[in-house]
């Protein structure tokens, strides 16, 4: 349980720091790294970094958008199309980040398995 929490927090923080000098895929690098050093079991391998980044991207996009009355989010939610609902767009944003992070974590976890024995 504690390991999950540590992984969750570290992924969150590293991803945020990496975002200053890397593209959107910084979340993949972050979750890959934490998977290498903080082993998790079964479903947690995917879902802990997934949730961490899901939350990071949801919060960050919410903060940016809410301060501008969701003007653009509402429009992008027409474009995609999500019925003009900015909260759905935030959800999708989180899911995409989470998916990328989770996939990279699976790979990081396998790397750890291969190299640690």
């Amino acid at each position: 349980m504690t390991k999950s929490l540590i992984n969750f927090i570290l992924t969150f923080i590293i991803a945020y720091i990496f975002s200053f000098f890397m593209g959107w895929y910084s979340v993949m690098t972050a979750s890959l790294l934490t998977a290498l050093f903080i082993p998790l079991k079964r479903l947690a391998v995917f879902f802990v970094p997934f949730l961490s980044i899901f939350l990071l991207w949801c919060i960050y996009s919410y903060v940016l958008s809410s301060s501008n009355d969701f003007i653009l989010a509402k429009k992008i939610a027409v474009l995609l199309p999500l019925n003009g609902n900015p909260y759905l767009l935030i959800l999708i944003t989180g899911l995409i980040g989470g998916l990328a992070a989770g996939a990279a974590a699976l790979f990081g976890n396998q790397l750890r398995v291969v190299f640690s024995k």
Partner: protein, 805 residues
Amino acid sequence: MKYIKLLASFTLTIIVFYLLNTKIGSIPPMGKFLNPYTGIWQNEINESTEGTIAIKGLKNPVTVHYDSLLVPHVFAENELDLYRTQGYITAKHRLWQMEFQTYAAAGRLSEIIGDKALEYDRQERRRGMVYGAEKAIEDMKQDDETAAYIEAYAEGVNAYISSLDPKRYPVEYKLLDYQPELWSPKKTGLLLMYMTKMLAGRDSDMEFTNVLKLFGEKQFNLLFPDFFDSTEPIIPKDTDWSFIDVPQTPHPDSTSVDFNLDEKLNQPDPDNGSNNWAVSDEKSSSGHAILANDPHLGLNLPNIWFVMQLSTPTHQTYGATIPGALSIISGFNQYIAWGETNATRDVIDWYKIKFNEDRTSYFYDNDWYPVKKRLEEIKIKGKETFIDTVLYTHHGPVVFDKNFRSENEKSGYAMRWIGHLGGNNQKTFIALNRAENYDDYVKAISHWSAPAQNIVFASNTGDIALWIQGRLPNKWEGQGKFVMDGSLPQNDWQGFIPQRFNAHTKNPKRGFVSSANQHPVDENYPFYVFNDGYETYRNRVINDFFNSKDKVSVKDFKTLQNNNYNLKAAELMPYMLEHLNTDEFNSVEKEVYNIAKNWNYNNDITEKGPAVWREWWKSLYQLTWDEFDHDSIALKKPFVYQTIYLLKHHGNHEFMDIKDTPEKETAKDLFLKSFKTAVSRLDEWKDKNGDYNWTNYKKTYAGHLLQALPAFSRFNLPIGGDRNIVNATSENHGPSWKMIVEMSSPPEAYGIYPGGQSGNPGSKYYDNFIDDWANGDYYKLPYLTSINDTTNINSTQTLTPTTND
């Protein structure tokens, strides 16, 4: 096993990365697009309009005051700094638009959206858009002052682009997954070509040639007269032309050629036009001349106009700019005001070209002349570059030949277009921005070559004037109406009308000047003017309005710009209703008949009459000109004015007969038939969409430049009017900028446009003018007389020279 898992998870990671980082079809790369650090969330922001920014190349600090409309008021010490700042500020608010429009002008859209734009790009290249821009830039560079300003403007744009963090690239770049490139003076040339194409890029020479071939000369002249039965020209009828001592080019013995070509270049919107007018101090109720301008163009977001104040220590100039071009285009300073409408003169002609065996030379004046080749490289996103070889003759580019929309190995069609002849159009506006009186205005506009414009003028001394300005070929009677034989020298343009003989009027007796794209002159003007569709309705409503009033005020100007009177309908519908046999009407037909009967001919938003007229007229026009329904040849149908004239005065003419029926129809039969069609169409429409009041039926919208992408567009705008109405708002076209200026000291001005100052769909300034625009309201324009005048100013930004300059 663990290696298999490793491989599997590795593959999964790569796939996820690839899918989220790549644009697939029209779906943007979702990871790039939606991440909160560099994606669209970073565009959820209003422009910063405060602080101090260092700009390379500035000589002195520049102050930019922003008012509540987000209009920048630029105060610079000199014009070089002024235009550098204009470039910087314009890019800051409208970068994607200004770049996209020049890509469109240059036939480079395939670079952005792939090979679905290839046909469009080839067409623009073959039209000679880049060739024309290069010619224009050559001429602009001949003039040291223009050259320096255009260069400064480009550097200003580039100062902004270079300072821009990629995460703040406008959202359209993220959507289409590409980056801005640096600006250059050539792009300003391309933008001016874009305007030339928009306003002087239309012709019907090929269609007219086909009409002539099909119906003969007598019928052609009935259908397409040089002058309609009544005209209300821009330059008043009583004007004395005796000062003109250069004759019209004499008519040679030459006929048009046969041809078998159905393709045509994409034509700009035929509704592109405008209104402008001015009243003298004597006719103004305040004693100051008043001027108005409203250019009718496509209603786009971002809007084609960007409003600015551009000031130096000597001139404070305010008005609408076009992102990509320097200076104010339609506006005023403390001395004068000016505005443009399109003069729609025939400045495109087509020549049939005869090639030799290997297409290296063409036949002209009984000899063979070498063809020049121009290679147009069209880069295509994700594909190999396409190279189009365009052949050039002394007439201009051979647009249609065996490589493009034509079959014939040994012939082609060359285009003679004013847009290919260069000129320094930019100089006109730079000079107008600092003009102080009538003489300065005349001198400024003398540089203008194309698209020909009706440039209205008013000054603080009460003068008003209107010049029809452009570089206009002195044609022989009928020249260029039809496709010409390109081998005969007498078919070439023989020269130009000397600029001083362009039609104009200054302080006419009637106390006002006006133009609304109508015929520029009456029959007495000594040069040939071809009527290829002059407007015939707005001008009469406008002139009647001024003739009916002794004095007029700014309020009257507003009323007139918002005038919804449908003169076209009022000239035909009462006649149709009178000649309609209503005996056997069913209940729906009676209902529609009554709507028509009770309509006051105003296209107001709540009226149903305009929808009835629209459907009835559409169906009537179709039935009247059924002779023109040919699949295999392109034909031009007669203009609205002449159609109504013929329906009312030649109701038994053979053209009224519907060819597919055994009976012999007259105009009156057509009225009934078309009425019934209109009723059933309206009924169908009503079942689907509900009430056909004019707002619902017309559905005016302002569409984003990317094919009206619904997310970034505004729909169902409640505004009246229509084409051929002074308030010329149709579905996606209309008054793109409305300006009224009273030449008091300082001037008092009102203006609005359908859009907003910001090009960012995430800004509240993106479309904040639209509702007020639809409502017919105006903003009082906060014109600042000095840098210290900060009434109505929300924030101030200072641009300073970089320290190492």
